[in-house]
Amino acid sequence: MSAAPPKSVFAKPQNGNGTVLPVSNLGKAIRVNGDLETDGELHIQGCVTGRINAGTLVIAGDGYVEGDVVARDVRVDGRLNGRIFAVNVTLAKSADVSGRVFHNSVTVEQGARIDARMPWRPPSYFETLDQLPETKS
């Protein structure tokens, strides 16, 4: 991992003591209506409507997200309707994505269902993401 400026939205998944933050998990049966914010890792198996801000986000096979996602790394195995802003994006073969995928590096597995524009952006674009009007909540 490259040394990112501490003010960036992509803070490393560590707190001040250098210990790794625990993974948050939203199980299958959960429904969230609102915004999620974490510097660490977030796994979503349930249904989330709203904005997500995370270090690493994984939308599992059963997961469904409707809204904007801002993260350093994003992996989608489930469904997403909205925009992704992430340096590294992985769309697995079971993914179903519609919207826009702003990325610096993208991996799409064979079989993924994508109905989206996928604009490439330089790494500097993601450093200043939280200041962009389009990604402000």
Binding site: P13, G27, A29, I30, G34, V58, N104
Partner: protein, 167 residues
């Protein structure tokens, strides 16, 4: 000298470098592995390892603004601004919930500002509860801070879901 010398008595070693793939299948799948992407990004690991059944964990780094609803258990170690509704809700030591908490069982070791409505309520020694508690069965450990009313009325008057038994 010649690579494909048939007269050699070891047939297996004739062409070690260029093994001919079986016609058809192999050539198609092999190509993507050869040219790996130059980008430094390594694909994120699959979702499997941290998938611990259906239990939802809001870790201490996570902040949620909005409603949270589940038909299973929720453990909160982070911060929630909004209502929480689940079968069993556990609010951890340094967790904070601003909003109402509904459930069958609510265990509180952290802070809740709002109402708790649950059949069984456990307030631990580190609990800070600001608001009313509607319960049927409650346990309060020494050290818990409570600013609010305790009402043993769960399922009687306040609950909209359970109107049975009341004429």
């Amino acid at each position: 000298m010649t690579m494909f010398n048939r007269t050699d008595n070891k047939p297996n070693e004739t062409a070690p470098a260029t093994t001919v793939p079986p016609p058809g299948a192999a050539t198609y799948t092999a190509t993507p592995e050869v040219k790996k992407p130059q980008a430094v990004a390594q694909p994120i690991m699959s979702a499997a390892p941290a998938a611990t059944g259906g239990v939802s964990v809001i870790s201490k780094a996570l902040k949620i603004t909005g409603q949270l609803e589940s038909t299973e258990d929720i453990r909160i170690d982070g911060e929630v601004n909004g209502d929480v509704r689940a079968v069993s809700v556990t609010v951890g030591n340094n967790a904070k919930v601003k909003g109402n908490v509904y459930g069958d069982t609510v265990e509180l070791a952290g802070t809740v500002e709002g109402k708790i409505e649950a059949k069984k309520v456990v307030l631990g020694g580190t609990a800070r509860m600001t608001g009313d508690v509607v319960h049927q069965d409650i346990r309060i450990e020494s050290g818990a801070f409570i600013d609010g009313h305790l009402k043993p009325e769960f399922g009687k008057t306040t609950s909209k879901t359970n109107g049975a038994g009341h004429a």
